[in-house]
Amino acid sequence: MKEQNNECVDVKKIMEEIKAEIREKGLINDIPQFSAVSMLSNYGSNYDSRLQKEIKYLSSKRINYDRELTSHKSTFKRTVIFTKRVIRKLFRFIGAPMVDEINEYNQRVARSIAYIDGYIRREEEGKKKSNEKDLLENREYRKNLDQCNNIITELEEKVEKCEQKMQALAMLEKEYECLRLEVNVLKLQLEKERLERKNMEN
């Protein structure tokens, strides 16, 4: 018997019924998505601060072609530094433009990352606001729907009561009509009896 019952259960049909029930009852999802709240998590804020640190480093870091020259050798230290200076001066026409280009490149990378970061933040903010708005709208909609449902229920109750009264009145009306007819019949009988008596007296 149990097996027979089980065979009758159609999961797909039940799922369709559930979908229809959701539509009919107007059930609304009021649970925000993970993506809408994840940016508020501690993990997100750590991630942000790490990214900010990296952008700050990239923006502030500049390669200096004329940086201070040093030597680890205690003897000939001055000679070594002097030689390095000569080499640097000799290669300035190649090295300096390259360093400038690298600096320019690094700055642009930093700016691009900052733009991307800004874009992501704006998008996330927009998404968050839109989710909040959706949630509020959902709540507002739900509230309005509840109010409408209450009014409909009240009106339905009133209509029902009026209909009951009308039914009662209709019954009374029928009763009244019956009585009126009965009175008319009785009146006719009375008239007839009076006429008969008058005839008898004459």
């Binding site: 019952n5 089980n6 259960v9 999961v11 979908k19 999802n29 649970i31 925000p32 994840s38 501690n42």
Partner: protein, 356 residues
């Protein structure tokens, strides 16, 4: 001819570990000479079960290598240099995009693993996919579809599930409350957030006396942490994060579960589904990746992640007369396909059919 299984790691009790060890046992019972070579050795396994990587030098041209592909490892390239015929058993690689928000190192590792998979196709003679979904993955990576066979299931040691469940856990959770269970490590592809979201609706609007139980270790700690925060932000209190627990406790959680809810978006097979079937827990799962293949005609497959719909499905399965029983009946039928003897028969026929 020997059949040498090569795998990056064999862990005691995990799905691939159990599978690899059982394949060795079966091959030995069919009189094949066989060995397992692994980089990482689990001390809980008998010492003679696994050979270290240095054993690789003993492989000859007459051997068949059964390589288990599941992640980024230097072995992916190394095995192509080895002599002998090569069969790849593909367990699936999770797409890197799932990890982007939580673990960039994993993004790189999975990207490289997928690159390895594509690059390896010229050196692999044939493949065994662990599901139809995995077979499609291999075809997308450029493998010849004629050389791919789909194994019916993993070797799942169901006999181990008959052992004693943890009594304390059963006493704690076997009450009038509804227990919704998911078993799986915390990784973004498993989509724990969608389970929390559906549960939030269910516990708020349908059944306040319900709890959600997550069994699984924190593979990505940031993800697990963000799930705890998400549950807090939604004001859902009855969510239990068990963390890594003993096998007897896992059994206990299956025994007290009323529903197994899975919202995962990437699975190569999903062994916990078979476990839920074994413990007669009705399954509700989102239809994606290998999940429809694994469930077959059983369980309830959702075509949407809408929390209202999911919550109402949970309610119907638990309250509508006959639904739960019908689902379990179909699950029991499906479970027969995962019996070790069925899988073993397929494997023997596969090796017998090899022409090299």
């Amino acid at each position: 001819m020997r059949i040498i299984q090569i795998v990056s790691g064999v862990n005691f009790g995990d799905a691939i570990g159990n599978h690899v060890v059982e394949i060795k046992k079966r091959l030995q019972s069919w009189n094949y000479a066989t060995e397992i070579i692994s980089v990482h050795l689990d001390k809980r396994l008998p010492s003679d079960t696994i050979k270290p990587l240095s054993w690789i030098k003993n492989i000859t041209e007459q051997d068949i290598i059964l390589y288990h592909m599941a992640s980024k490892t230097p072995l992916n390239r190394q095995i192509l240099e080895l002599p002998g015929k090569k069969i790849m058993m593909y367990h699936n690689i999770t797409p890197p995009s799932f990890f982007a928000e939580f673990d960039y190192q994993r993004v790189l590792a999975h990207r490289e693993a997928l690159q390895d998979l594509t690059d390896m196709k010229t050196g692999i003679d044939c493949c065994i996919a662990m599901s139809e979904f995995n077979r499609k993955d291999l075809i997308l990576a450029g493998y010849d579809s004629d050389k791919i066979k789909v194994m019916p299931a993993y070797f799942i040691p169901f006999e181990d599930y008959a052992q004693q469940a943890d009594i304390a856990t059963i006493e704690k959770y076997a009450d009038e409350w509804t227990n919704i269970l998911f078993v799986g490590r915390f990784a973004p592809n498993k989509k724990h957030e969608d389970i929390i979201r559906a549960f939030a609706y269910y516990s708020k609007h349908i059944n306040k006396k319900s709890r959600l139980i997550f069994v699984g270790s924190a593979a990505i700690p940031e993800y697990r942490k963000s799930m705890e925060l998400y549950a807090q932000q939604l004001g859902v209190n009855n969510v239990i994060f068990t963390g890594h627990i003993s096998f007897s406790e896992i059994i206990a959680y299956y025994k007290v579960a009323d529903i197994f809810l899975c919202m995962s978006e990437h699975e190569g097979f999903c062994v916990p589904l078979a476990e839920a079937m074994y413990f007669h827990v009705p399954i509700i799962a989102y239809a994606s990746c290998a999940i429809p293949d694994t469930l077959g005609n059983a369980g309830v497959l959702l075509d949407t992640k809408d929390p209202v719909f999911t919550a109402m499905c949970i309610d119907k399965v638990l309250t509508k007369p006959g639904v739960r029983e019908s689902i379990i009946e179909k699950q029991n039928e499906r479970l027969k396909d995962f019996e070790q003897e069925t899988v073993a028969k397929w494997l023997l026929e596969y090796f017998q059919s090899l022409t090299f």
